[in-house]
């Protein structure tokens, strides 16, 4: 440590030391890597997303691609028409996807119903636009309230049922838009448990007999009501397994096939499934694989919900709006081998 000691070391060694220092620093800096986040910090869906190929009883056919931006709603009528709505437009196609008509609308409908007489009802967050069968605007039902967030509409000859996720209620309206009943609000006296709708995914559907079914997403099932709001029956199936509904609010879309079987779509684990009339799982229409690989899968801020809407057409095919691909995906039941 003494001065004389250091003095004896030849200068070239100091030069070498200086070069080594700078070189070492450069080397360390160039190889600088932060550790990747460990496994425990990463969200893994793992096995839950896996679907047994044998249980997939539908196969996909060519999608229908109406040239509409922000495609978000689909409906089908028993006479073989398919309606699709998105930004500023409604398109009518036949079962093969050939365009039959196209109507301009104001705004972007997020859900849609076609009444038996061909009238089109379009849900636009807090109002409903009614369009005549020929495409002429007929009425605009506002006044659903500031909180209103319409997520689904169905209509039969007399009634229009509107799923309002904002107020957690299904509104029963007449065909002129006048309120008739509020369905699904908690009422211990009538044994109505109340709808739990934590997110804007809340669907209603009419079954083959014309009865109204409303999804209760917080309870992972469906409830059936009479038009006056009386609860008929309920069916819940919360489970992470394939035969149930997982996440905080599923199923997000439902539809009935003409034979009374139930098609459900789930977010989180993106899958579409088919249940029998007795609500036994018959099989999978499409698993997460089918909705993966689109251009947007893990896209940020997004809620990871690939489905815009779900419908069953006159042939019993399942129509799913794939928002990532902006198309109607069509799934057809496989012929039993």
């Amino acid at each position: 440590m003494s001065g004389e000691g250091t003095g004896r070391i030849p200068p070239w060694m100091w030069a070498l030391a200086a070069v080594a220092t700078v070189g070492g620093v450069a080397l360390l800096a160039s190889r600088d890597r932060r550790p990747e986040p460990p496994q425990s910090f990463r969200y893994e869906m793992g096995d839950l997303e896996r679907v047994d190929p044998a249980s997939v009883i539908f196969s996909e056919t060519a999608p229908i691609e109406p040239e509409i931006l922000a495609l978000h709603a689909v409906a089908a009528t028993p006479d073989g028409r398919i309606y699709a709505a998105g930004e500023g437009a409604v398109a009518v196609c036949d079962l093969d996807g050939a365009l039959l008509g196209r109507y301009a609308v104001m705004g972007t409908p997020t859900c849609m119903a076609v009444a038996p007489d061909g009238e089109i009802l379009l849900g636009m967050t807090d109002r409903i636009a009614v369009i005549e069968a020929g495409g002429a605007p007929k009425a605009d039902w506002t006044g659903l309230g500031d909180q209103a967030h319409v997520t689904a509409i169905v209509a039969d000859a007399e009634h229009v049922y509107v799923a309002d996720a904002g107020n957690r209620v299904v509104l029963c309206l007449d065909r002129q838009g006048n309120p008739m009943a509020r369905i699904g609000e908690e009422d211990a006296a009538k044994d109505i448990p109340g709808l739990i709708v934590p997110s804007p995914y809340f669907d209603v559907a009419l079954d083959d007999g014309g009865a109204l079914w409303a999804v209760n997403p917080g309870r992972h099932g469906l409830e059936s009501y009479r038009p006056n709001g009386e609860l008929i029956t309920a069916w819940y199936r919360p489970s992470m397994e394939i035969d149930g509904f997982c996440g905080c609010c599923n199923p997000c879309h439902v539809a009935f096939r003409p034979d009374g079987t139930l098609v459900t779509a789930e977010k989180g684990i993106a899958r579409v499934k088919l249940y029998s009339v007795e609500r036994k799982l018959l099989g999978v229409v499409a698993g997460p694989e089918a909705f993966r690989g689109g251009p947007t899968e893990a896209f940020s801020g997004d809620l990871h919900v690939p489905f815009g809407d779900l419908a069953v057409d006159a042939r019993g095919r399942v129509l799913v709006i794939d928002v990532n691909r902006n198309a109607i995906r069509v799934f057809e039941e496989k012929e039993p081998a």
Partner: protein, 586 residues
């Protein structure tokens, strides 16, 4: 401090103090070294096995999820292990922080002690032997050699590295993996935009393709009679009033009409005059509840529509701008607002290469909008200096298209793809209604009570240069826009005069007076000029150096709009009718 300076303690030895300092330095150095080693060990350990990533825990969790019922014992085991691993995680984090602080303190103590030890055992300043001249020279020479040597090595190393580095990024078209159908594919399926050549075969906007008053076809009918109906192929009623001129694409002719309450677009069959569809515009967000005041000269449907392949655009006095497809479906629509000026929306639309240009001449903020034809979204917005009634014209030049607009004072040219201002020249004055025309590379504008100006353009090294060639101040147009041939510009005034000016010199070649004034703009078709006067008589004359009338067919109805000359037909809009005049194979 002064005192210490005077004593120069730097060079005062103190053996006892030094010994203590050395001891402290040794202890603290050792301590720091130990902490350092421990820290590194902790780091390596955590990297090798993250306490939170306990494989045992993972295994247990898997077992739990595999078992149908929640097994109490298993759950307990997981909870215990989980607690343990979290504890381990936070402990190791705490160790890391604590270790860092200890190391800092240790190092500080070590440094202070080491410094003191050095101070109390000073090395006295030694007189260094001064280097002699040859030694200095040798040293400098060695340094020079070293610097140059290193530089050469560096260059070689860089070149080797550059040579060894594969480019790594496939060139376009090379090994492009088949992409999933994304928005790209969706967008691709949208129809392609028509090219300029496509547009030249149509009548897509006010005053023809490019909007400068020259018809793309070589001939047009010269004989018809409004009273007898001779030469008139069809005549259809236009249900709503509008000063806008007809536009046509393939087999469809479009006009718009509006009152203070309704705004409609009409599509007629070009062959039969049958009304193929009419579409009323809905109210868009922002559509004014009460109609804005408009002058009698403009009305609610003054701007001429534009057609761009499958899209037809219409703009109304309320600021409603809509795009329809060939079948009349609304593709998009929006209200762009009503400009604050004294004539409202009066400039016509024009489209090129997928962009629709809208002159939006608000007094405070005059601007030029370029909208995407398929969505109506803004592609760019250019600020304008002043307002006008005139319409944009597209001039094809060697260096690309120029979008030429007249304003109260200036003539401005913009790049249609970016909105960049290419040039501007002062050449106008007053309330300008006539739109520009051009001949060769000379742009021509004119306005009544002001002047007509010819601006010569020159492209130097890709940059456009403009210069005023000449001005003319005698007979000037009020409404009708001038037209041009290769050698002459033609002015049609509202006093009924037509003047022919030489492109190069600006000298009047001839002037001709007629009984009626002109609002409808003269159009050149091949080597003839067609000018329809206010009574509906069309004056057809040659483009030659002297006035030579060819015919003067009468219609019998006043004509304000500029007819469309397309496929050997003329589409003419009068106050209530749209008619098609077809030649007899002349």
């Amino acid at each position: 401090m002064l005192k210490s300076k005077a004593k120069k303690p730097e060079f005062v030895a103190d053996r006892a103090a030094r010994r203590i300092a050395v001891g402290v330095a040794a202890v603290s150095g050792l301590f720091s070294l130990v902490v350092c080693v421990l820290l590194i060990a902790n780091y390596v350990q955590v990297r090798a096995a993250d306490p939170l990533d306990n494989p045992e825990l993972l295994r247990l969790r898997e077992r739990l999820s595999a078992s149908p019922e929640a097994d109490e014992a298993l759950v307990e085991e997981i909870r215990a292990l989980d607690l343990l691993s979290r504890k381990a995680f936070f402990t190791s984090q705490a160790h890391l922080r604590m270790g860092g602080r200890l190391l800092l303190i240790g190092a500080a103590v070590f440094l202070i002690a080491f410094r003191l030890a050095a101070r109390w055992n000073p090395r006295l300043p030694a007189r260094q032997a001064g280097t002699d001249a040859p030694a200095q020279r040798r040293a400098i020479a060695r340094t020079r050699e070293l610097v140059s040597g290193i530089a050469v090595i560096l260059v070689l190393a860089a070149l080797t590295a550059a040579y060894m580095t594969p480019t790594g990024i496939p060139a376009p078209g090379e090994a492009a993996p088949p992409d999933t159908p994304g928005p790209d594919a969706v967008a691709e399926s949208v129809m392609p935009y028509p090219s300029w050549e496509d547009m030249l075969a149509q009548w897509p906007s006010f005053r023809g393709p490019g909007g400068f008053g020259v018809a793309p076809c070589a001939t047009a009918p010269t004989a018809w009679d409004g009273d007898t109906g001779a030469g008139i192929r069809w005549k259809a009623e236009v249900p709503l009033p509008g000063f806008n001129s007809p536009v046509a694409w393939d087999d469809r002719v479009y006009v718009s009409g509006a009152t203070d309450t309704i705004r409609e677009v009409f599509c007629f069959d070009a062959d039969t005059g049958e009304l193929r569809w009419r579409q009323a515009l809905p109210a868009f967000p922002g559509t004014p509840g009460t109609p804005p005041d408009v002058t009698e000269d403009t009305g609610y449907a003054a701007p001429t529509m534009a057609v761009h392949g499958p899209w037809a655009f219409a703009l109304f006095g309320t600021g409603d701008l809509a795009c329809f497809d060939v079948d009349g479906a609304l593709v998009w629509g929006r209200n762009i607002g009503v400009p604050d000026n004294h004539y409202g929306h009066s400039s016509s639309l024009i489209a090129l290469d997928g962009e629709l240009f809208v002159q939006f001449d608000d007094k405070k903020q005059p601007r030029l909008l370029a909208l995407d034809v398929a969505t109506g979204n803004e592609v760019w917005v250019a600020q304008r200096s002043r307002i006008s009634w005139a319409s944009p014209a597209l001039m094809p030049t060697e260096s690309g298209f120029q979008l030429i607009l007249a304003s109260e004072l200036d003539v401005d040219a913009y790049r249609p793809d970016t909105g960049a201002l290419l040039w501007t020249e002062e050449g106008l004055d007053g309330e300008v209604a006539p739109s520009p025309t051009f001949s060769g590379s000379t742009v021509f504008v004119a306005n009544e009570y002001a002047m007509a100006t010819a601006i010569r353009l020159d492209t130097v090294d890709g940059a456009v240069q403009s210069e005023i060639a000449w001005q003319w101040e005698d007979s000037l147009p009020e409404v009708a826009s001038p037209t041009s041939s290769a050698d002459y510009f033609y002015i049609a005034t509202s006093m009924g005069e037509i003047v022919c000016l030489d492109v190069a010199s600006g000298e009047p070649e001839w002037a001709q007076e007629f009984e009626q004034g002109f609002y409808s703009s003269p159009i050149r078709v091949g080597d003839r000029i067609y000018a329809a006067d206010l009574k509906g008589t069309t004056h057809i004359f040659t483009t030659g150096a002297a006035f030579e009338s060819i015919a003067e067919p009468r219609l019998g109805e006043p004509v304000y709009a500029t007819p469309g000359y397309f496929a050997n037909r003329i589409y003419l809009r009068t106050e209530q009718h749209l008619m098609c005049i077809e030649g007899n194979g002349e």
